[in-house]
Symmetry: C2
Subunit: 246 residues, 2 copies
DNA sequence: ATGGCGCCTTGATTTCGATCAAGCGTCCGG
DNA sequence: CCGGACGCTTGATCGAAATCAAGGCGCCAT
């Protein structure tokens, strides 16, 4: 479980160095972080944090995909966050976790003990600044998501999800999103349903429908080929220009 | 429109002084803010900012209620934020407004020119710290809202909305929320529908149903009397203990 | 190899909320 | 005083997604 962590023990070589909460830190600030950090790994399917748990750390996702979700007593669950490498877990000043965090694939996180991290937040403004930026980005994403949940049809929801994943994939690889591109869905049908506020049956049906209509092609259950991003975007219901919001 | 603003020209006497973005500022920091601020008023129903507009200011709501909303080409709209006194409008570093901001009642805002405000953000950490706190609070609210939009029934949505407004009302007045309490809905049925991802007809029907079932009483169209908060909370679908999340 | 399990698909039916439609009360301006 | 706009309610019908149900495929462990 805690296998080859030697390879990522050094902040300078960290794969998420430029996007995570530490992105703006100078070398000496990194040294402080280095001294309070430790790695932890979880295997696919494992619950990393239960809602209601006391949390004595905050963390950055280094590798893998995790979800943030809420569950009602009768079992209805809604995903409220999708955590990818460089995303932040936890909230400074908060004792009790309000959501479940679940590893969707094998996940490695870089943890900071909460108290020392909170102190750093006061002393090194670069961390707070970056954290604010990340929180505002998440807020934007949450609001786009709210439009999806409240007003989009099942088909539009599926198309939007595929587009969202494709977009993030392509900005990760810095690949130009023209022509035919393909995406590996990191989610099961059930997780997609929890993301979109649907049932897994509806997800399955709508994926099949998009395939039948030639909007997407499937390779196995998880790999999606997008012949034309244009066409896919038309199915999302969003503004067609898709101009990047600044 | 810009009538009696003399009365709120001084930060020290400001009604939102202790909750807004300036909450943590020292007297000298307030002086800086004072020098770049100006008030603006809007009347009920007026659109304050259009999505796509260039924004050269950020602002705090001082008085009244406004909404943040997104609209799709075909007219479907989803509210993504409800702005009450002390809430913040705009994002440092952003040029273009991504959402519509609409005054629901007569609204007064305290504006800061964007560039000077961004400079203050770097020089006075208290503002950035408070802004981070507010952003994280909004993120929590957005996530609760996502559960509502994705998984709750129409009846649960209505009950939740009334509970949310009642909660905020009572913490504003610091009134103890025991026994019978009453709430003035600041929203039309249509605005409630946009908040909840419903149609206005469904909102109307479910409000009537809650009334018929004795969960709430109505005084006029807008004033809601809650005989038992307990009973109302049972209708929201949320965890019954309702423990305050820290 | 075989049985079981996890993940997914597809079909039949039901249901909740959307849509279409009519009408009520209040406020406001002519 | 009247007409109309606005906000709201209620009824009838429709439809999209949920629910109920069955079965397929790939994979692992016995």
């Amino acid at each position: 479980m805690t296998e080859t962590l030697v390879e990522l023990s050094d902040c300078v070589d960290c794969p998420i160095r430029h996007r995570a909460v530490c992105a703006r830190c100078e070398t000496d600030e990194l040294d402080h972080l280095e001294s309070i950090k430790y790695y932890r790994s979880y295997s696919a399917g494992q619950t990393m944090i239960w809602a209601g748990d006391r949390m004595d750390f905050v963390a950055s996702v280094v590798k893998g995909v995790a979800t943030l979700s809420q569950t009602m007593e009768d079992g209805r669950t809604q995903m409220v966050g999708l955590l990818l490498p460089s995303d932040f877990i936890g909230r400074p000043g908060r004792e009790i976790a309000p959501y479940n965090v679940t590893a969707i694939s094998d996940v490695t996180v870089c943890c900071f003990r909460k108290r020392p991290f909170e102190n750093l937040l006061v002393t090194t403004p670069h961390i707070g600044q970056r954290l604010l930026e990340m929180a505002l980005d998440e807020l934007d994403a949450a609001r786009e998501w709210m439009l999806l949940l409240g007003r989009k049809t099942a088909r539009e929801k599926i198309a939007s999800l595929i587009a969202i994943i494709a977009r993030r994939d392509s900005e990760l690889k810095a690949a130009l999103p023209s022509g035919q591109l393909s995406v590996e869905l990191p989610l099961t049908r059930e997780a997609m349903a929890d993301y979109l506020g649907l049932t897994l049956e509806t997800v399955s049906r709508q994926v099949s429908a998009l395939k039948k209509d030639g909007i997407i092609q499937l390779e196995g259950k998880r790999k999606v080929i997008i012949p034309s991003l244009e066409t896919l975007l038309e199915e999302t219901g969003d503004d067609t220009d898709g101009g990047p919001l600044i």
